[in-house]
């Protein structure tokens, strides 16, 4: 079922389907065993090739190559495209320069986050919008519903309609004649040197080296037409996402691994993708954003991407309320992970100085001798430098027998199992 409720909430029920192979599946099975390939967001994706820790280190010290071909890639084009994106997303789109990208949110009218996205402006009237794999069917349905008038939005204007009709196209599908794109990410300090070996001419290599964060350029790598974007999801200061035709994705994947081999470039799976983004403080939709806790962009640390000064965007009224009233936020915690320390996990309780529960762990990852947790905690408890406790929830029947809790409510007083420190919300490496 899908549709918009009277409260403006967009309801979408995904169709259950068997996972499909990623475009790069054949390459993955050459590099890792099938037992390390799992279904994620409807796609069969590699969890790791060498080890999560080794791949994580490769991205921080050299570079890592990621299959992101599962990410949704939509084209929004036509002379009403910018106006449409300004109306359906929270960040400012009209003023975005060609060749630049911007992080933004799609909300429903009730202010629920439907997805976090990146909008790339390829031309005055041509945008590429990258959405989360798990949300792609929902976002397509939402945007098409808005265009077709199936979902009616109160804009505050007399006609009560969006009245903007750009063309929306799934860029991963279509025949060969279409401009098709899938995402492959190369992240880490050796990115530029690796790409320089593949750039068809020296000026492109130079251009890529000089790209600012969230800027992109179109050119040929290993003879393959590529959109080279200084964006990524690892917290690496240097890294790119490459958007290429799905038919050429495997070739580019292999050429990058070949060229990067002497530089220590490794293929990286979902495991390292997760530990890298957690270490960097980047949210994952459904965990640090939206989800059961309905975490808002403000609470996630991205209030700047919600432009309340814009005349209109869907969910604006709700966001204006949230901006002044939110009382919990996402914090990044650093905890020890020396030998014998149990890893913290989602739903574990976060305790304040007095032992009272101030929130919960959302995601956590071990990075060498540290573990990083992203937690949803009372804003008063979230200042950098504060020491917070963690209480492990029961993870086995015997722990339950011994009285360990399976869930903790806010305010409950408990003894901490482990202490951690709140660190800066984000980190770049």
């Amino acid at each position: 079922m899908q549709g918009s409720t009277s409260t403006g909430e967009f309801v979408f029920e995904a169709v259950e389907a068997d996972p499909v192979s990623s475009v790069l599946y054949d390459e993955h099975v050459k590099l890792t065993s099938k037992s390390r390939i799992a279904a994620f967001a409807g796609y069969l994706m590699p969890l790791w090739y060498s080890s999560i820790a080794e791949e994580h280190r490769a991205v921080r010290e050299r570079a890592g190559l990621f299959d992101c071909t599962h990410m949704g890639v939509l084209e929004v084009s036509g002379d009403e495209a910018a106006g449409f994106l300004d109306a359906v997303t929270t960040n400012e789109v009209g003023g975005l320069k060609v060749g630049r990208a911007r992080y933004s949110y799609i909300l429903d009218a009730a202010g629920n986050v439907l997805d976090d996205i990146i909008i790339y402006r390829r031309g005055e009237d041509n945008f590429m919008v990258v959405v989360n794999a798990a949300n792609e069917p929902k976002i397509q349905s939402y945007l098409r519903g808005l265009l077709a008038g199936r979902i009616v939005i109160e804009t505050g204007r007399a006609d009560r309609k969006l009245g903007l009709h750009p063309t929306i196209r799934d860029m991963r599908a279509g025949d060969r004649s279409a401009d098709r794109r899938v995402d492959i990410a190369l992240q880490g300090p050796a990115t530029i040197d690796t790409l320089a070996k593949l750039a068809d001419d020296a000026s492109l290599a130079e251009c890529v080296a000089g790209l600012k964060s969230f800027a992109f350029v179109e050119g040929r790598l290993a003879g393959i037409d590529s959109l080279i974007c200084r964006t990524g999801y690892t917290g690496a200061k240097i890294g790119v996402e490459l958007f290429v035709d799905p038919e050429h994705a495997a070739t580019l994947w292999n050429r990058i691994l070949e060229a990067g081999k002497p530089l220590g470039v490794l293929p990286c799976g979902l495991g390292a993708r997760d530990s890298l983004r957690i270490e960097a403080g980047l949210p994952l939709y459904g965990h640090e954003l939206g989800g059961k806790l309905r975490i808002s962009p403000f609470a996630a640390g991205y209030g700047w991407a919600v432009k309340l000064g814009k005349e209109f965007f869907i969910g604006k009224a709700a966001m204006a309320r949230v901006a002044t009233t939110y009382d919990m936020e996402v914090a990044r915690l650093e905890l020890p992970a020396t030998r014998g320390v149990r890893p913290v996990r989602p739903h574990d309780a976060v305790l304040g100085e007095d032992g009272r529960c101030v929130g919960w762990v959302l995601s956590a990852a071990k990075v060498q001798e540290q573990q990083y947790a992203l937690a949803y905690v009372d804003r008063a408890a979230a200042g950098a430098g504060k020491v917070l406790g963690v209480y492990y929830l029961a993870r086995s029947a015997s722990q339950v027998e011994q009285g360990r809790k399976q869930a903790v409510e806010k305010g409950q007083k408990l003894a901490a199992d482990l202490a951690g420190t709140v660190v800066s919300r984000f980190a770049k490496y």
Binding site: K366, S396, S398, Q399
Partner: protein, 127 residues
Amino acid sequence: MAVVEGLLYTKDHEWAKVAGDTATVGITDYAQEQLGELVFVELPATGKEFGVHKELAVVESSKAASDVYSPVAGEVTEVNTELETKPELINEDCYRTGWICKLAITDKKSLDALMDSKQYEEYLETL
């Protein structure tokens, strides 16, 4: 995927090495491979009794916590305390230094349901 002859196996990828009335228990190469780098092992208490397929231990990788079920009915007589500081022993050598505990078998019939190495290999083929 290494499978050792002479051991008995469960569908949940535990192994048991039976000598007289004692079973040494661990997880298989397939299991450790699936879990990835282990960072924590919760061992059972010595003296505690377990029925077949009861939660005996918990192994945690950086990504998941998994139960280890008792392959046989028995009482814990010894645990591999080395795993408390070196959980990676399970990754390095799951059939020898990575053993988890020893059980005094209380019900020998519980052994009948286990697979031998050949049957376990065939079972792995089906996964």
